[in-house]
């Protein structure tokens, strides 16, 4: 009986064969792969345009074999708006961190969602500013120690972590908003489906599509990769519940 070898899991086509600059155990890498798989799934590499943001994922274009514009910090949704209006048939996604999207980029993300820009937003929430060395983010958990909340986030002074998926779901132009995580194989699978859905919404012109991904930043959390991975369900999910917050393709 002849035996052949069949691939079960391989690198998505759209991902270049380049080692990333991410730290060991950083979830950015997983989310990159899921985005790449979604692009492969729809066969739209040729018309996909990525909008990079400023954060650890700023080097996006080193990893994805697609056209990319690098946006100033927080402005990816505005840059994406400009790109999409010139090429309405392209597939535009932004890839943003929590500092980028939920702090400096608050106005841009809210208004892009409200306008119903036909784009997909991948939002990696790791409760800190990874790239700049672990400062407090709008999503930093109460009490969490960061380099700019050395005594722990004090909600009386610094407010509560912002729940972006819920906020975005409230806006008129939003077609889809969900929160996922990538800390277990099962959740990675779910997250992949959700991201694929968010690309599909755009392709079918169903409004603004937003996916918040809870992600680990072992380096700035001062944890090992495994500890950091465990924190995602251990600490983050309590405050940031997973789920779909809006989906206009599903009737309530």
């Amino acid at each position: 009986m002849a035996v052949s070898v069949q691939p079960v899991f391989e690198r998505p086509k759209v991902l270049k064969t380049t080692a990333t600059h991410y730290c060991a155990g950083c979830h950015h890498g997983i989310v990159h792969r899921l985005v790449a798989e979604a692009i492969d799934h729809f066969g739209v590499q040729d018309r996909t345009i990525g909008i990079g943001s400023v954060g650890c994922s700023v080097l996006l274009y080193e990893y994805f074999d697609i056209d990319v514009v690098e946006a100033p910090h927080g402005r990816a949704p505005a840059v994406g708006t400009g790109v999409k209006r010139v090429h309405p048939d392209s597939v535009v996604f932004t890839y943003q961190g929590d500092g980028d999207l939920a702090a400096i980029g608050t106005a841009e993300i809210i208004h892009a969602a409200n306008r119903g820009e036909l784009m997909t937003v991948i939002f990696l929430n790791n409760t800190t500013y990874g790239m700049t060395g672990g400062q407090m983010a709008p999503t930093t958990l109460p009490g969490q120690v960061t380099t700019t909340s050395p005594y722990g986030r004090d909600v009386k002074v610094e407010g509560y972590p912002i729940r972006m998926a819920e906020l975005i779901a409230m806006l008129g132009g939003t077609g889809f908003s969900a929160r996922v995580a990538v800390d277990t194989p099962q959740r990675v699978l779910e997250a992949g489906k959700t991201i694929r859905k968010a690309f599909g919404m755009q392709i079918e012109k169903q409004g603004f599509a937003f996916v918040e991904v809870l992600g680990a930043c072992p380096t700035n959390w001062g944890m090992s990769a495994l500890e950091a991975n465990a924190r995602v369900s251990g600490e983050m999910m309590g405050y940031f519940p997973l789920g779909v917050y809006k989906d206009i393709t599903v009737s309530a």
Partner: protein, 355 residues
């Protein structure tokens, strides 16, 4: 109307832009340039173009960045505070070499300041609003007609050099109306292909990336030298300046934009009184027409620079003439009730003519 239209300056620059193929406009309201977005919102749909009022000037300039990176001919406009807010975006566009046109209809500042004519943003436009030592090509129209004409030229310059171009108008030029002779845009045959734009990589065998972060050893430095070589080329090729009666002049008067407009009448009055006054009016303020000043002051070593600010272009005049000329300055910073009159400038010309 013997093919002359009666047009407001703000609308003229928008008309020129659309004629030149501008099909994307992103902006945010601010006095004294609101006619531009208003005109665009009305006219863009008629030519298959696209108008969007952004949530802020910051968003607007970044939409412009996106549309420019995507290959569209795109424009924004603002004034004072709004232009300041675009500083980061302009620096990004210069850094990532994204062509676009930015109109600043100057109003007086600092801060909220006022809404009348001013030229207090010369430094900002010419020396560097944003960080990183980039340059914008800066065009300085002085009439409704020139707003229209330069409104076309700006797009060609932007595309030719892959650079943001600023049209530096002011509240007077934007709000005034006068005759305009429209004409068709002709695309220069030698404009480079936009093979660098993002549009989906299609069948290209490489992806296009528009970016300004450069972290590899030596990469950023090489890029900056490249940009500055480009600026040098622009200086050689694109300097524009209007002059008159330089021969035999005893005094050179120089001004740009609205100040030149007012000075024009004052100079005519002075000539009426028998004074020999030459006029130099930069049409590009970056690149600055240094050569014109150098040559003119070789014969007439006295220049009166008039500005609607506290002295900005005069520095470039001084840097141009270097060791030769006596450069004087007369300026007022603008504000309600503070527009100089031709009579007032005539007084200055008389004074500086004499001593």
């Amino acid at each position: 109307m013997n093919n002359r239209l009666f047009v407001k300056g703000n609308e003229a620059v928008a008309m020129g832009a659309i004629e030149a193929g501008c099909r994307y406009y992103f902006g945010y309201p601010i006095t004294p340039q609101n006619d531009i977005p208003e005109y665009m919102s009305r006219e863009m749909p008629k030519v298959g173009g696209f108008f969007l009022q952004a949530e802020s000037e910051v968003a607007a300039i970044n939409m412009v960045l996106g549309a420019g990176a995507a290959g569209g001919r795109v424009m924004t406009s603002s004034s004072g505070p709004g232009i300041s807010l675009k500083a980061e975006g302009m620096s990004f566009m210069a850094g990532s070499e994204v062509p676009a046109v930015i109109v600043n209809m100057q109003r007086p500042g600092p801060g909220l300041g006022g809404i009348d004519a001013s030229q207090a943003d010369y430094f900002q436009a010419v020396k560097g609003a944003g960080h990183g030592g980039y340059r914008l090509i800066v065009l300085a129209p002085w009439s409704v007609q020139e707003l229209y004409d330069l409104g076309m030229l700006a797009f060609d310059l932007a595309d030719r050099y892959r650079t943001p171009v600023m049209i530096l108008g002011d509240a007077m030029l934007g709000q005034m109306k006068e005759a305009l002779i429209p004409h068709s845009y002709h695309r220069p045959a030698d404009l480079p292909e936009k093979d660098w734009v993002v549009c989906g990589k299609g069948r290209r065998n490489h992806a296009n990336v528009v970016k300004s972060l450069m972290l590899k050893d030596g990469e950023l430095e090489a890029h900056n030298w490249h940009l500055h070589a480009k600026y040098d080329l622009i200086k050689q090729r694109e300097t524009r300046c209007a002059t008159d009666n330089l021969d035999g002049a005893e005094l050179l008067v120089t001004a740009f934009g609205c100040a030149a407009r007012i000075a024009r009448t004052a100079i005519d009055m002075a000539r009426g009184e028998g004074m020999k006054v030459g006029m130099i009016r930069p049409v590009t303020v970056f690149p600055f027409p240094s050569e014109v000043y150098l040559q003119a002051t070789a014969r007439t070593p006295k220049v009166l620079c008039i500005e609607l600010n506290n002295g900005q272009m005069v520095e470039d005049v001084r840097l141009s003439v270097d060791r030769q000329a006596d450069v004087r300055f007369y300026g007022r910073p603008g504000g309600t009730g503070s527009l100089p009159t031709p009579e007032e400038l005539l007084e200055q010309i008389r004074k500086h003519y004499k001593d």
